[in-house]
């Protein structure tokens, strides 16, 4: 048993290689294996540590098992009775104590990290406070420091601590941005959960709901858009600006009667359902119809903002089964007019 340890040390470079392989796994903006911020990095570090320990364990067990299976297989015609061994205290102590030591190696950083990641930034002036409210099947983001509310796209400044206060308006969901931070559940009835994260660089990161929340659980995606500090300030100003209503009075009337009874655009409408301010410059429509420039659509869920809005307004149920907006009673022209107007709602930042 003890003689085999040198083999393990020779295997260490292999383990390092495996870790490298892991780090090349998945999309940069989505994979927990390619962390883009300190929180996800800390969690990835713990993963690497635990994976390394576990690979050692697996290799030792596999090597032993393979050796035993080959060495002690029953040969043809061999009818000898093996020595009946009751046990071996020395060996048994070894395989009790070594795992315990490995667990200490893993347990200490785990506890440090549990308490480190539980740090509360809700009173920190330098952190951006965001109240996340999950709904079937969309995300509401409120910035109390700026008095603004948005949906689906969480716009943040790069390099700053984002302090999250998460809850739900209906069933339990779970708020997760794999490349930036692990998840936290959103509980009902004012049972608020906190977490924080930070993005190293500007860019768009994919967020997901991780707790089964109904038929469209799979479609409850959101985006985290990290921008530079100046852009973020411009964005908060632009969000607070009053709405520009359609010039065509017929479209304005349509918007007021069909959209603003549930949604808000700037200072207009009611904020029961996703805020539509600046929807034209969002990353997606309804979370999963990804907006791309004209002619760059590669997958069936991609299109221009205008195309995506039309697709959504034409048949919401096909895009997001079980959504609460339901089927709109609109003619093709009306859909076209609303989609054109909404697609123009772009924010400069």
């Amino acid at each position: 048993m003890m003689k085999r340890w040198p083999v393990v040390t020779r295997l260490l470079p292999l383990l390092a290689g495996l870790a490298l392989l892991l780090s090349a796994c998945g999309r940069e903006d989505l994979s927990a294996l390619r962390p883009q911020g300190p929180v996800a990095r800390e969690q990835f570090g713990l993963m690497q540590l635990s994976i390394s320990i576990m690979v050692i364990v697996v290799v030792v067990v596999f090597a032993l098992a393979i050796y035993v299976l080959i060495r002690f297989r029953r040969r043809k015609g061999d009818d000898t009775i093996p020595v009946q061994v009751e046990g071996n205290h020395k060996l048994e102590i070894i395989w009790t104590v070594i795992p315990l030591m490995l667990l200490v190696v893993l347990g200490v950083p785990t506890i440090q990290s549990v308490f480190g990641l539980a740090k509360d930034y809700s009173q920190d002036e330098n952190a951006i406070q965001v109240k996340v409210t999950a709904h079937q099947y969309w995300w509401e983001f409120e910035y109390p420091q700026y008095g603004i509310t948005t949906a689906q796209d969480l716009v943040i400044p790069e390099g700053k601590i984002i302090s999250i206060e998460a809850q739900t308006a209906d069933v339990i969901h779970s708020f997760w941005i794999p490349s930036l931070a692990g998840k936290i559940d959103t509980n009902p009835a004012g049972n608020v959960n906190r977490m924080f994260f930070q993005a190293d660089r500007t860019g768009v990161f994919l967020g997901k709901c991780a707790e089964l929340c109904g038929p469209s659980h799979a479609n409850m995606d959101f985006k985290v858009k990290a921008v530079d500090e100046a852009s973020f300030q411009r964005w908060t100003t632009a969000m607070a600006a009053p709405a520009v209503l359609p010039e065509d009075p017929a479209v304005a009337e349509l918007l007021a009667s069909q959209c603003l009874t549930c949604h808000a655009i700037g200072d207009q409408g009611i904020s029961l359902y996703p805020d539509l301010t600046g929807i034209g410059s969002r990353e997606s429509v309804a979370g999963i119809l990804v907006n791309v420039p004209e002619g760059e659509a590669e997958y069936t869920n991609e299109g221009t903002v205008y195309e995506n809005l039309k697709r959504w307004l034409t048949d919401t149920e096909a895009v997001k089964p079980g959504n609460q907006m339901g089927q709109m009673d609109l003619t093709e022209e009306e859909i076209d007019a609303l989609a054109s107007y909404l697609a123009e709602q772009k924010l400069e930042y």
Binding site: F72, I111, A210, G322
Partner: protein
């Protein structure tokens, strides 16, 4: 029967409905559990077909949620546990040298309540929709506000009824193992499988009542507008998570410990060697059972319990790795220096060891709470628990079925088919679930009915689906094997493997209804092996041949379960008269059982001797 007794002995279907013989009840459990295993497997295949390509529309979103809920619920409550109950019924009394379990009547009742509970649950498919809130049924999603079909009603009532059966079984086997052991069969001479069933039964006894309360509370919420989990009226959704997992985590060990027991028997037999470190194996089993009750919150690291709870539950969970590791090394060292036969039973057992190690190490990874914030509710978790449950439990069940099939049915399962089945299933299993670790780490949440294209999930999902189909083929091959085997005419002796070590291999295959003509005298661990080594052919009897007392068959358990089934339906649809009639049937049967003493009957010596000659 030739002998002039007034006791009725039934034949045909009536025999099966009224039987109180633990061996027949074991076969009933096997048939019913196998049936539900095929249904749950079909549901798994549907899930994998839906996910074979991005944005597939094979199943609708809500149908997918029903299928995934029923897959989990069926596999755990209606397939895995009953098949384990099949093996423990068929084998445990034989291993301890008993003529029957302590309560044959209750044994039958346990089976029928399980079956009718399971049928009730599955009727939901035809009654407006199956439950769709996941096997964990988290509220508020499972509350009447957000789940307005009868699906979750079927879940709470079906599981409640089948849970009664499980609890009865647990108590029955505890008493059987404590009180019914043959002379000389001390606790530290009990075979490892019996030990694992003993601990599992204790876990059932202390874990299932928590589920009973949870299901009752959810039922009250859904049927009678109570407010346990309704946040609007002061209810608490996280409370359900606690109750569910206080039951749910021990449940995991209820499932896996018997598999540990089976593997210990199979590896020892086919290595022709005594189980290495028996006493530390017993100690590890008890310790795992004990620790199993203090780690439930590791399913809730992201619920927001705070750093103190998360740290404590992280460490407690990691500790379970130590006794589990002890077991793994003991198995390997049982084979060390042995003479290993690679028949299908042992292939499954050997295949179990590395697979379970992989499921175990990902378990330790999941125990590190901050890393779990990333793993939780992703395909990484799906991969982990399938490695433990399929790679551990199901391989263990297959090993046990191949090993004990000759004892249960008197025929050997076909070896060639068995090996083909093993490799198909085993390769299919690893194809299906190994890649899922990476899917989870790359950002794929679990329980999603579709994933978008271009996220890098496509290839691995395709591989996973191909693997699932292979597992499906493997399962079908096993059924084929059963059919082929049942047609063979071979007759087997008491110890068909030739290397049997424990008491079940001292009696005919299949055993007579009274199991042991004479209660055996146990002179050491591995009772039969010890006698073989001492040059004896079989164990020494502890008593002369005499009349054997047998319990009478009874139809009451069947009707008691039918009553609960009817009652459950009545309450679900608020038809209280029907509900009352159902419960009345059950209570009447209970009273009849109490009023009319069951004196059983005796099989006289002449008849016993005839049986021996035949």
């Amino acid at each position: 029967m030739a002998h002039g007794h007034t006791v009725k002995r039934y034949t045909g279907i009536m025999d099966w409905i009224t039987t109180v013989d633990h061996k027949k009840i074991g076969i009933l459990y096997l048939i019913a559990g196998g049936f539900f295993f095929l249904i749950g497997g079909l549901e798994a295949i549907l899930i994998r077909i839906q996910l074979w390509q991005p944005m597939n529309d094979f199943l609708s979103a809500d149908m997918y949620n029903q299928v995934l809920t029923m897959h989990g619920t069926t596999m755990i409550f209606l397939a895995a546990m009953p098949i384990l109950f099949a093996l423990m019924n068929a084998i445990v009394p034989l291993q301890i040298g008993a003529r029957d379990v302590a309560f044959p009547f209750l044994n039958s009742l346990g089976f029928w309540t399980f079956l009718f509970g399971g049928l009730l649950l599955n009727i939901s498919w035809f009654a407006g929709g199956a439950p769709n809130a996941g096997w964990t049924s988290y509220v508020p999603l499972a509350s009447p506000v957000y789940s307005d079909t009868h699906g979750v009603d079927f879940y709470v009532i079906g599981l409640q009824i089948s849970g009664i059966g499980t609890l009865i079984g647990g108590i029955n086997f505890l008493v059987t193992i404590i009180n019914m052991r043959a002379p000389g069969m001390s606790f530290m001479r009990m075979p490892m499988f019996t030990w694992s069933i003993f601990v599992t039964s204790a876990l059932i006894l202390f874990a299932f009542p928590a589920l009973t309360v949870g299901l009752a509370a959810l039922m009250f919420d859904r049927l009678f507008s109570a407010n346990f989990f309704n946040p609007e009226m002061g209810g608490n959704a996280v409370l359900w998570e606690h109750i569910f997992w206080i039951f749910g985590h021990p449940e995991v060990y209820i499932l896996i410990l018997p598999a540990f027991g089976i593997i210990s028997e199979v590896i020892a037999t086919f290595s022709r060697k005594r189980l290495f470190g028996y006493s530390s194996m017993v100690f590890a089993t008890v310790l795992i059972g004990f620790l199993g009750f203090m780690v439930w919150a590791h399913h809730m690291f992201t619920t927001g319990l705070g750093p103190v709870a998360n740290a404590l539950f992280s460490i407690a969970t990691m500790l379970i790795a130590v006794p589990t590791g002890i077991k793994i090394f003991n198995w390997i060292f049982t084979m060390w220096g042995g003479s290993i036969t690679f028949n299908s039973a042992n292939l499954y057992a050997i295949g179990f060891v590395p697979t379970f190690v992989m499921g175990g190490v990902t378990g330790v990874m999941l125990a590190a709470a901050p890393a779990d914030y990333q793993y939780h509710d992703t395909y990484f978790v799906v991969a982990h628990f399938h490695y433990v449950i399929v790679g551990g439990l199901v391989l263990g069940i297959f090993a046990g079925l191949h090993y004990w099939w000759p004892k249960m049915f008197g025929k050997m399962l076909n070896e060639t088919l068995g090996k083909i089945t093993f490799w198909t299933f085993y390769i299919g299993f690893h194809l299906t679930f190994f890649v899922q670790h990476f899917l989870g780490l790359m950002g794929m949440p679990r329980r999603i009915y579709q994933y978008l294209d271009g996220l890098g999930f496509n290839q691995m999902n395709l591989i996973s689906t191909i693997g699932a189909l292979l597992m499906g083929i493997g399962s079908i091959l096993f059924v084929v094997n059963i059919i082929v085997t049942s047609r063979s005419k071979e007759k087997l002796g008491a110890d068909p493997w030739g290397d049997g070590r424990t008491l079940e291999w001292t009696i005919p295959s299949p055993p007579p209804e009274y199991n042991f003509l004479q209660t055996p005298l146990v002179r050491g661990f591995d009772a039969l092996w010890k006698e073989k080594m001492d040059g004896n052919k079989t164990v020494t009897p502890a008593e002369p041949v005499g009349p054997i007392h047998m319990p009478s068959p009874s139809i009451l358990p069947f009707f008691m379960s039918v009553g609960l089934f009817i009652g459950g339906f009545g309450f679900m649809y608020h038809q209280y008269i029907i509900g009352g009639v159902g419960l009345l049937i059950t209570f009447t049967c209970m009273i009849l059982r109490s009023l009319y003493d069951d004196h059983g009957y005796h099989i006289e010596v002449e008849e016993l001797e005839k049986g021996v000659k035949a």
